[in-house]
């Protein structure tokens, strides 16, 4: 497929891997920040291609995963109401709260709908004036502009029966929290390509300088990830710590100014709780006061919902790159996508769920290596 197959070419992949082997002299720990990158790594088996000294650890950038359990419970409390049409991105539907998931609520009669664009809610709200349409606005900076546009248009166009349950998080404060931790192992980052397509990468420069850590803004295709890894290792081997842009076909340093302006008109930065990590100051968005009539947390009585997580779960350490899914005794046994015990198992982009989806809970050691028994690739 044009513009995609070029970034999945096995021959080019082997060349980049050879170059990584050539430049790498010491062991390095590199974190891919985004859930989409984690997914791509596991789906394509990229970590199996890398030399043993290069360890990829999986970051906190799965928006579904880091949405706190209490926020899920709030969503479910709202979705259960007979006067509500609850709209969500597809992959939130299977995320379990304290009691069941949105699929369960749907099977019990709740009106739960998957939308592909937040703006679909405008149509739904106009078609159902007697109902309250609530959109579950989650995500990183990537989904913020589209979600902000829904709030903005609802206000501008006077569509009163729309509200947003907002649980937005930001990448840079999470990276700082990881780097500031005494347990930190991460020596370089594959930065979040889609987030930076919106925000640019200027705000990563002070982080890179302060912690002396290379950050390479990286895309999501296999060759993007390999190239980003190579660029990070080149910096590490030459003791540089800079922000570089591997994803230059998509983004530049400034990002999308129009989207940033819209986001800042609708949202303001505030403290946010991250599932698996806890409270990070100034790490998320909330709706500005002007949008209070479209703020579901204010409209529905859900403020008192507070939920605790199972203690066995190590997702906090996984999200900070300290541990990997297979380090957890519950992985694939007590904890699986049907019964997730914590953040990283709840969405396809969480590290544990990605490992599970691509069969790594089934793998014995002898399968855990790449084999090319079908002969050389074309």
């Amino acid at each position: 497929m044009k513009y995609l197959d070029e970034y999945r070419d096995g021959r080019v992949a082997r060349k980049i891997v050879d170059e990584i082997r050539r430049v790498q002299t010491k062991p390095w720990v590199i974190m891919e920040v985004c859930g989409g990158q984690t997914h791509s790594i596991v789906k394509n088996g990229i970590d199996y291609l890398l030399p043993q000294g290069v360890e990829l650890v999986h970051g906190p950038g799965c928006p579904v995963c880091v949405t706190p359990l209490e926020m899920i419970d709030k969503a479910h409390a709202i979705a259960r109401r007979p006067d509500v049409i609850f709209c969500s991105f597809g992959d939130m539907l299977r995320v379990p709260g304290s009691e069941g998931d949105l699929f369960t609520i749907k099977s019990e009669g709740g009106d739960v709908r998957v939308v592909y664009s937040p703006l679909d809610c405008l149509k739904i709200a106009r078609a159902n004036p007697e109902k309250k349409v609530v959109f579950f606005a989650i995500g990183f900076e990537t989904t913020a502009p589209a979600n902000a546009m829904l709030a903005w248009r609802a206000l501008q166009e006077g569509v009163k029966n729309i509200s947003l349950l907002v649980s937005h998080v930001l990448v840079p404060p999470a990276l700082e929290a990881i780097l500031a931790s005494p347990q930190n192992r991460v020596q370089g980052f594959l930065g979040p390509g889609h987030v930076c397509a919106v925000m640019g990468y200027e705000e990563y420069e002070p982080i890179s300088a302060r912690f002396r850590v290379p950050i390479v803004i990286t895309g999501f295709e296999p060759l993007d990830i390999l190239q980003g890894t190579l660029m990070t290792i080149r910096q590490l081997e030459t003791e540089r710590a800079e922000v570089e842009n591997e994803y230059s076909r998509i983004l530049d340093r400034a990002g999308n100014r129009t989207a940033q302006k819209l986001v800042s008109e609708v949202f303001e930065v505030g403290d946010r709780k991250w599932r698996g990590i806890g409270m990070i100051p100034q790490s998320g968005y909330r709706l500005r006061e002007e949008f209070r009539e479209h703020d579901a947390e204010k409209l529905f009585d859900v403020a008192r919902i507070d939920t605790r997580e199972p203690e066995i779960c190590i997702s906090g350490e996984i999200l900070r790159g300290i541990k990997k899914p297979k380090d957890c005794p519950a992985f694939g046994t007590l904890c699986n996508p049907q019964h997730p015990l914590g953040a990283t198992m709840v969405s396809a982009e969480g590290a544990c769920a990605a490992y599970y989806a691509y069969g790594r809970h089934l793998q014995r050691d002898e399968v855990d290596v790449p084999v090319h028994s079908l002969g050389g690739a074309a």
Partner: protein, 380 residues
């Protein structure tokens, strides 16, 4: 009746195909340690109709205990029974697709071809069919006529006769236009023994053509997603393709070289390969770069975050064949309109029994597991 399936998936509204529950390993300790099956859901959820692990749970824990018998317990796509020396294939299937007319077909054609294909996958020639209709009050008579005429045409193409039927009408809102259940009987005339449990190490895995067309045609129509180049369902009867494949092997073999045939409907090629791997206790190894996926389907899947390996097909088959016969079978497939894009995508291996492994396009490796429930579009 050999195959049990969960009905309707009214939201994903896919053709509810066979769910091979018995073949699906549930690695969860929640089930294994308990002498009585625990059905964890208070209510049926849509995922119970997905063909994945939830469907398996439903079949294992609710249906099988009630009906258990040696023929059903095989959980093949069809039952094969012997009566007075004649070997008959017997199968049933329900169809609940929205929209009922879609690019490349309609629910009527789907209902006939789906049952014809389940018969064909045992090597049977379809003979007699039945159809039961659940009609929703308010359905346009013209639409029903169109569906039924399409069924008539599909039945004639299959060389079968629809010999009995039933009709019920439910109140508006209690159904979704039309639900159709078809049942079929066919006769197995050749000395073949085709079953998902017969894959041997060394066998070649053949795929009859492009994957994911049907599922993505339905999804793009349903969600009003407009892609460049319309995607059409691949809905087609496969009995003649199967006959051509069987004929290509001749009679000189002591054991017929076609070991397994399956049509990868709901759950897609990945689910089908898992079923065969599990039943045959063999490993499967396929290569991503050999998989035939149309550009339009690839693009639609990329946009929605779906994997074409798990998307439904309605006119494709997976064949597991002895390596020495693979070329002549492939040749015969290429000469048939429904097999002209057939390719060998991998082979059966003795390593990792019960698991399907794929070498990825960039040279990595991954396991293709059975999905839990439905594939969900990803957030970003």
């Amino acid at each position: 009746m050999a195959s049990l399936e969960s009905t309707a998936n009214p939201d994903s509204k896919e053709h509810a195909a066979k769910a091979d529950a018995g073949t699906v390993a549930i690695p969860s300790p929640f089930f294994g340690s308990c002498p009585l099956p625990i059905f964890e859901h208070k209510n049926i959820v849509l995922g119970h109709g997905s063909g994945g692990k939830l469907t398996a749970e439903l079949i294992d824990q609710i249906f099988l205990p009630a009906f258990a018998n040696p023929i059903l317990d095989r959980l093949d796509d069809q039952a094969v029974v012997e009566i007075n020396g004649a070997r008959l294939a017997f199968t049933t299937d329900s169809f609940v697709v929205t929209p009922i007319f879609f690019p490349g077909g309609d629910i009527g054609q789907l209902a006939i071809n789906g049952t014809v294909n389940d018969l064909a996958m045992s090597g049977a020639r379809p003979l007699y069919l039945s159809a039961a209709f659940i009609l929703e009050e308010g359905l346009a008579a013209q639409d029903l006529r169109r569906v039924v005429e399409s069924m008539g045409a599909a039945t004639r193409t299959a060389g079968a006769q629809l010999v009995t039927g039933d009709t019920k009408v439910v109140n508006r809102g209690k159904g979704d236009q039309v639900f159709i259940t078809t049942t079929g009987i066919g006769v197995i005339e050749r000395p073949v023994n085709i079953s998902a449990s017969r894959a041997h190490a060394g066998d070649k895995i053949i795929l009859s053509g492009y994957i994911g067309d049907h599922g993505m045609a339905i999804m793009s129509q349903r969600e009003n997603l407009e892609f460049e180049g319309a995607i059409e369902s691949d809905c087609a009867p496969l009995h003649q393709l199967v006959a051509a494949m069987l004929d290509a092997c001749g009679d000189q073999h002591s054991e017929h070289p076609i070991h397994c045939l399956r049509d990868p409907t709901r759950g897609g090629v990945a689910t089908t390969l898992n079923e065969i791997a599990s039943k045959s206790r063999a490993g499967m190894l396929i290569r991503e770069e050999l998989l035939p996926v149309r550009e339009s389907v690839k693009g639609a899947c990329e946009i929605l975050g779906l994997d074409p390996l798990y998307v439904a097909n309605e006119g494709k088959l997976v064949a597991i064949v002895a390596p020495e016969a693979a070329d002549s079978i492939l040749q015969a497939m290429h000469n048939h309109p429904f097999g002209q894009h057939a390719v060998i995508v991998g082979e059966v291996v003795s390593e990792h029994p019960g698991m399907v492994r794929m070498e990825t396009g960039v040279g990595g490796t991954r396991i293709l597991d059975v999905m839990f429930g439905e594939q969900l579009p990803r957030i970003c």
